[in-house]
Amino acid sequence: MIVNHMIIHRLPSLPMRLTVNGTPRTYDGDPTQPLLWYLRDELELTGTKFGCGISACGACTVHVDGHAVQSCVTPMMAVADRRVTTIEGLSAKGDHPVQKAWADADVPQCGYCQSGQMMAAAALLRQKPKPTEADIDSAMSMVICRCGTYTRIRAAIVAAARER
């Protein structure tokens, strides 16, 4: 089975284990529950946002084993034994290069999509430390910003890449 680009070899036996922001967790609930609601409702990590529920907007983007994933369509069974990182765990003090670049460029307006934007950008830079314009378009077009901060996001990613 392939869920959200991740191959699930077998259904996990419950309780399953996972790591969230470095903390080991066990999960005994509905294996089809999307990771988003586990993070928001059960762990109260509300930095990961609900925007569409169908992986169309990217507000819920988190890292699973370092890759950007839309948590709203990622069932819990897909993250058994995996490392999940949310915006709360991206850095200890909010000083990840992406967060610093976002602050310098004064990117957020309403701020709602920005967790997803930064998680997508951080995953992009991890894979491609010197992304091209096309790389940025490709990775970041998954995440909608209705306030329209795209030019600043682009500038911030370029700046963060330069810093690294």
Binding site: K49, C52, C110, G148, Y150
Partner: protein
């Protein structure tokens, strides 16, 4: 959370403080001091205004009564307060006000948060506190008040060199009368206003700590997801909740009565699934089996409705403005140009779908919501629960975008009704589908324009007919054409010096709720007007920029009593004396933007520049879009220039980012977005079919040119949007010779 008792105490103290001021008129200082000392316990803060509180610890709390939705109002109002107070920026804290008339108008719409009084009110409050602190220090040192100065969080006395921080002066200052007309700073002394200041919410937004409506919680809270009627006006006919109730975590299924249409701010009704978590509630909603009653809107179909609007706009409507003799001038034209424009319904589609949590008890209702209008939320909840308004406390979270959607508190009312039923706090989580399909769509508009050119290419006549359902139809029956307020958004205030001019409002019945959308009717009106000017320029063989300048005529203040309007024309709630229609300001933004964008430069084949200028919310904006159209019809936008004159600028960096965002939203409106109805239901459901601009389609560069003329501040959040769509279609025409008259462009080129 602020408890009711704390709130009541604070209100009580403020009322007493206000009472103390009234006493002060005829009372002796000593007596007033004695009276006031009864009211203030040790440790109480200095509160010269409902917007300001200074503690003995030196912390300055600024109470922001407007909602933060990306426009930066929380930081901007703190900048204003801190500046006049001469506060140390590090001591500034924001408290978000609950909905309460004591704060004046809290409706965060109409781009009013700075322009409509708050700027002056916050300055006066800061200046009053600064004067009281200075008096307190002078009394402490026994020196004339003129010898001391407040600076950077302290009052200083130059000779001898000594100072007292604000916190140490609070105890004495709070016993002093609040000056009614404190001396304001000269603009040259500003430390924060007009300067670059990092947003006070920035760190929370970057670390996931910012709390929006969807994130709000209360102890013991349940989650509700609601199945709304698919057609406006229909009700639950039959309900089978058995499958939903079998889902683990689902606790109850509750029917919400449908408000008779027009339903205003009250809920659409439907069926709520209450669960112990969002996932269970979502699954429960999917498992509901509901049939719906017939509605008068069952046959509403956007294609048929467009034809209706077209027919309506082709016949004479209600004449709302007339000058000269349009019919004669059109008949005698050397060249007549006719064009029709269509702009579809739009969804505000803020990234955060609306959400609210409410707790109803015997004492009343307390709620937290991402609302633009907490007073309306409070009043609507009170009306639905049939309890006094004073028994409802509405707290405001951050808003994950709003764009007009969240000025309508139906979702807050839903939470309150469900909490009453559940006898527990309930959070209503609206999903994207609810937002797209059960919202308050932006109006749809069909516009018919006719223009006359004389033999020299001068525009001698202009006829503008608009058929567009009014927002008023959401609130009252029998509202079948645009209101005068909506017509004042671009049509009644058209500034051009055309001798024969007529505007008519044509019939357009509403078949859904219609709501505010960023810049409201300016969006379709500017699309038609600025597209038509481009078409007239083409017909006259003139450069579009030159024609706009020609139509503006010599610099002048347009006398709005002499524009032929049938009734006095609204000016965004402000006076024409304070904010006149000034053609020089149109000219200036147009000249700035065309110069910066390199207007007239030679471009490769398939590329073009388009220009548009529009005034709204007292602010003048001109836009140049550079478009490139490939052989396959693919549109690329390398660059957009936008020049804005919003009068005095309080928070320049946020004005720039609002302008950038307006460009993106304007392009979404023009290129990708369309909300349509079939069999009474909204066809689109989520971002996959209600498309908005993404990074890949966004302009590579947006250049914002602040062309501020000073004077009273105008609006900022909305006025950037209207000129964007016409500038784009004009650019596409320049690039390809193809004229787009129907939006969105994306599906047509």
């Amino acid at each position: 959370m602020t408890t009711t008792s704390n709130l009541e105490r604070r209100t009580f103290l403020q009322q007493l403080a206000a009472g103390g001021l009234v006493l002060a008129v005829g009372a002796t200082g000593v007596r007033r001091l004695d009276a006031m000392s009864l009211f203030f316990a040790a440790g109480d803060p200095l509160q010269p205004s409902v917007h300001l509180s200074i503690g003995e610890d030196g912390l300055v709390t600024v109470v922001c009564h407007r909602s933060e939705m990306g426009q930066g109002v929380r930081t901007a109002l703190c900048m204003v307060m801190a500046d006049e107070l001469e506060a140390d920026w590090k001591t500034i804290r924001i408290e978000q006000a609950i909905g309460d008339p004591k704060y004046g108008d809290q409706n965060t719409d109409g781009s009013t948060s700075i322009r409509s009084g708050s700027y002056t009110r916050f300055r006066l409050a800061g200046a009053a506190a600064r004067a009281m602190l200075a008096r307190a220090a002078a009394a402490e040192w026994g020196v004339p008040v003129g010898d001391v100065t407040a600076r950077h969080g302290a009052v200083v006395h130059a000779a001898p060199n000594r100072s007292l921080p604000f916190g140490k002066l609070v105890a004495r200052a709070r016993t002093l009368p609040v000056p009614a007309a404190p001396k304001l700073k000269d603009a040259s002394q500003f430390r924060f206003i007009g300067k670059e200041v990092a947003g006070l919410d920035l760190h929370d937004m970057l670390t996931g700590k910012a709390i929006f409506g969807q994130d709000a919680k209360m102890a013991g809270m349940k989650i509700a997801v609601i199945l709304h009627p698919p057609v406006y006006g229909s009700k639950v006919a039959t309900l089978d909740a058995s499958a939903a109730l079998k889902i683990k975590g689902v606790e109850r299924v509750i029917e919400i009565p449908t408000t008779p249409i027009p339903s205003g701010f009250q809920p659409l009704g439907g069926v709520a699934v209450i669960a112990n978590g969002t996932w269970a509630a979502l699954q429960g909603r999917n498992a509901l089996k509901v049939t719906w009653t017939a509605s008068p809107n069952d046959s509403h179909d956007s294609a048929a409705y467009r034809a209706e609007l077209q027919a309506s706009a082709r016949t004479r409507g209600r004449v709302v403005r007339t000058q000269g003799d349009v019919a004669a001038a059109l008949a005698g034209a050397a060249k007549k140009v006719t064009a029709e424009y269509y702009a579809p319904h739009l969804a505000q589609a803020p990234m955060e779908p609306p959400a609210a949590v409410a707790s109803v008890t015997a004492d009343g209702c307390e709620c937290w919501a991402c609302t633009q209008n907490p007073q309306e939320a409070r009043d609507s909840v009170a009306a639905a629960l049939k309890i006094p308004k004073e028994k409802v406390i509405c707290h405001v979270t951050l808003l994950g975008g709003a764009f007009g959607r969240k000025s309508k508190p139906d979702y807050v009312v839903e939470a309150a009704l469900l909490s009453r039923e559940m006898k527990a706090p309930v959070k209503v989580v609206r999903t994207r589908e609810d937002d797209i399909q059960n919202g308050y769509p932006h109006t749809v508009a069909f516009q018919h324009l006719e223009g006359a050119l004389d033999a020299t290419g001068k525009v001698t006549a202009w006829l503008h007919r608009v058929a567009s359902p009014t927002i008023n139809s959401t609130f009252a029956p029998g509202q079948t054409d645009l209101s005068d307020g909506e017509l004042a958004l671009g049509i009644l205030d058209l500034p051009y010096a055309i001798p024969n001019l007529q505007a008519e409002s044509c019939k357009a019945e509403g078949h859904s709720r219609i709501g505010w959308f960023r810049a409201v009717s300016n969006v379709p009106h500017a699309f038609a007007i600025s597209s038509f000017i481009d078409e007239l320029a083409q017909a006259a063989g003139k450069d579009p920029r030159d024609l706009i300048l020609e139509l503006l005529g010599p610099d002048r203040i347009v006398d709005m009593t002499k524009v032929g309007a049938v009734k006095p024309v609204d000016n965004y709630g402000d006076s024409w004396d304070a904010h006149p229609l000034d053609t020089a300001r149109y000219r200036k933004v147009l000249e700035v933007v065309t110069k910066e964008a390199g207007w007239g430069k030679k471009l490769p084949k398939g590329e073009g520049l388009g220009v548009a200028v529009h005034r709204s919310f007292l602010t003048y904006v001109a836009v140049v879009v550079h478009a490139r159209v490939s052989a396959k019809g693919e549109i690329v936008i390398p660059r957009v220039d936008i020049a804005m004159d919003c009068g005095f600028v309080v928070h320049p960096e946020r004005v720039r980012s609002q302008a950038e965002g307006a460009v993106i939203m304007g392009l979404s409106n023009a290129i990708t977005s369309e909300l349509s109805f079939k069999k009474g239901r909204v066809v689109q459901s989520n971002y996959h079919d209600y498309e908005v601009l993404r990074m890949s389609a966004a302009p590579r560069a947006i250049h914002v040119h602040l062309a501020a003329s000073g004077g009273a501040p105008g609006g900022v959040g909305e006025p950037g949007v209207p000129p964007v769509a016409p500038a784009l279609v004009n650019a596409i025409f320049a690039a390809t010779g193809k004229r787009i008259r129907s939006l969105p462009v994306g599906k047509r080129l």
